[in-house]
Symmetry: C2
Subunit: 355 residues, 2 copies
Amino acid sequence: MMLKTTSEIDIVKANSSKINEVDFENLTFGNVFTDHMLVCDFKEGKWEKPVIKPYEPFLIDPSAKVFHYGQAIFEGMKAYKDENDDVWLFRPDENLDRFNKSAVRMAMPEIPEEIFIGGLKTIVDMERSWVRKGLGNTLYIRPFMIAVGSGVIAQPSSQYRFMIILSPARSYYSGEVKVIIAEHYSRAANGGIGAAKAAGNYSAQFYPQKLAQEKGFQQIIWTDDATHTKLEEAGTMNVFFRFNDTIYTAPTSERILDGVTRKSLIAIAKRDGIKVEERSVLVSELIAGAKDGSLKEIFGAGTAAVVSPIVGFQYQEDYYELPKIENSLAIQLKDKLTKVQYKLAEDTFGWTVKV
Amino acid sequence: MMLKTTSEIDIVKANSSKINEVDFENLTFGNVFTDHMLVCDFKEGKWEKPVIKPYEPFLIDPSAKVFHYGQAIFEGMKAYKDENDDVWLFRPDENLDRFNKSAVRMAMPEIPEEIFIGGLKTIVDMERSWVRKGLGNTLYIRPFMIAVGSGVIAQPSSQYRFMIILSPARSYYSGEVKVIIAEHYSRAANGGIGAAKAAGNYSAQFYPQKLAQEKGFQQIIWTDDATHTKLEEAGTMNVFFRFNDTIYTAPTSERILDGVTRKSLIAIAKRDGIKVEERSVLVSELIAGAKDGSLKEIFGAGTAAVVSPIVGFQYQEDYYELPKIENSLAIQLKDKLTKVQYKLAEDTFGWTVKV
Ligand SMILES: Cc1ncc(COP(=O)(O)O)c(C=O)c1O
Ligand SMILES: Cc1ncc(COP(=O)(O)O)c(C=O)c1O
């Protein structure tokens, strides 16, 4: 894949590295950051030269629009190290594309390909010792953009800051994942910002998530806000449902994030003859399938968790446990995807990009 | 009204005041801030002692949750100076109450009454020279809370910062306000965060607002996301519709902000024998009313704009101009409300609170 990049980046190196203080065996997700961060400011209608410099707090005005109006978007991606110590990105063009779609929806400036891709490659290259070898070890990459312009009028900012920060990570969820189907709260609406990776979409879910967790569920499966009859996605994952030998996932829409993991699993399934359909699954179908045994698996799919098998779901008063099955398609698909990411299987799609 | 307050506030005074640099005749909304700000941090489960100190940028970690997940809420209120140089707040208990409702919905800690009210009174008192006499002159007050805890896991922060900043202001909108009725985009959904003054609700509107402005409309009147048939509110104002001699406004709900101006106008109308009903107005009723002449007025109501008469509205392909009328209820209500705020009329409801 030919992606534009840039060498026009100022670099200020950290005096020393924190890497020896980090316990790579016991990482909690997203807590530890590497030595450097990338910063690129947008002022007077244009992007300035990006700078990579030591990771540290920065100064911002109390009236910055990000604080008052939530003008903020982000991406989530990972770098992987193969057996030869080469470091790889996975479909960074997809993240760039989605980032810029989010930017448009949030009335923010789009980031040029050369800054996004060039910035990624340069900073990940500098931090390559933070990318550990071995399946499940990754460097989580968080590009984001915030409105830093000051003033409390409810209008788009004229100044923005794009940043990339990096955090060594292992898989996001561990343990059994039980979910609850949303009946009252909703994540997104038609005409809303659900398809954007906008900051406000996530804090909006914290309270319903807390309620779900108090009842013993790790995740919510969101339903359409208008009728709560269609299954949509989870808070940070798209969701697949396997009935007999076919897997289904909701089509992307204004309400659903167009996940890179989702589309990659669909492509792998199609390539390998696993039946997959993009169509809305109704809550009623899920219940019927759980009752008659045709519902075999439910799993989440997202960069952080990769593939997250779900053991059961609650709907209204009842909890439905999923069967323990052999030849889980969730596990097969996770395995196939992971092998591409770590360069252990042929990358038939040309998804991996060397750093 | 008896409100709890506190004198437990540390004060660090600015060395000099910027007030002489400010052109009070030509203020644009929310651009200029006074000399001080209030800061109160929430850590390890409790609120620390508030500090009032010089207004200035502050340091924050790039991974702060407010940047990534939009955990941020705010309030908007005003201080008014009367003819005796006394300074007044208007229904600050309502803003406190709404702030804490927003906090709960966004999984943030509630702020104690004594910090909110005590903080407000103390900082407004310090900045009383920034509150100018004369109708239309106000000090706009922006209390807000942001998640400052670091880490990019999509979970509520454990650290927050509550702040109050102040900006001298005149009325928000000027000139003729033409509006467009939303047909595709939506502001809020059932089960969502529309009733909270959460940052993310506002940036979500920037893009549709930009499209509306490009077509020559200053504001959007939002409709329910599910059917786009019910009129809800504007981006920063509740909306009233007058048919013949009755004014109607949508009932508050999960989708609609419970505006202080809205409820104050309703109370004044009821007290003074103006017919007012809280019920959804349908787009079809609006069109019919515009055609048969029963639709007399539309006006927005909110702290920033107070009352904002609307001259006409666009729906689909057609623009409907409202009649120029005498004895506008919008103007009457604005006048009655403003007089209470500036202590020019008796405060029969006990709404004003002396600083
Ligand atoms: C709401 C939501 N759905 C789905 C996903 C999965 O997307 P991806 O596979 O690109 O990580 C994410 C991102 O992590 C998300 O935030
Ligand atoms: C969405 C929205 N609706 C209505 C209002 C009006 O509320 P209030 O009268 O309390 O200012 C506001 C706040 O300004 C608002 O943000």
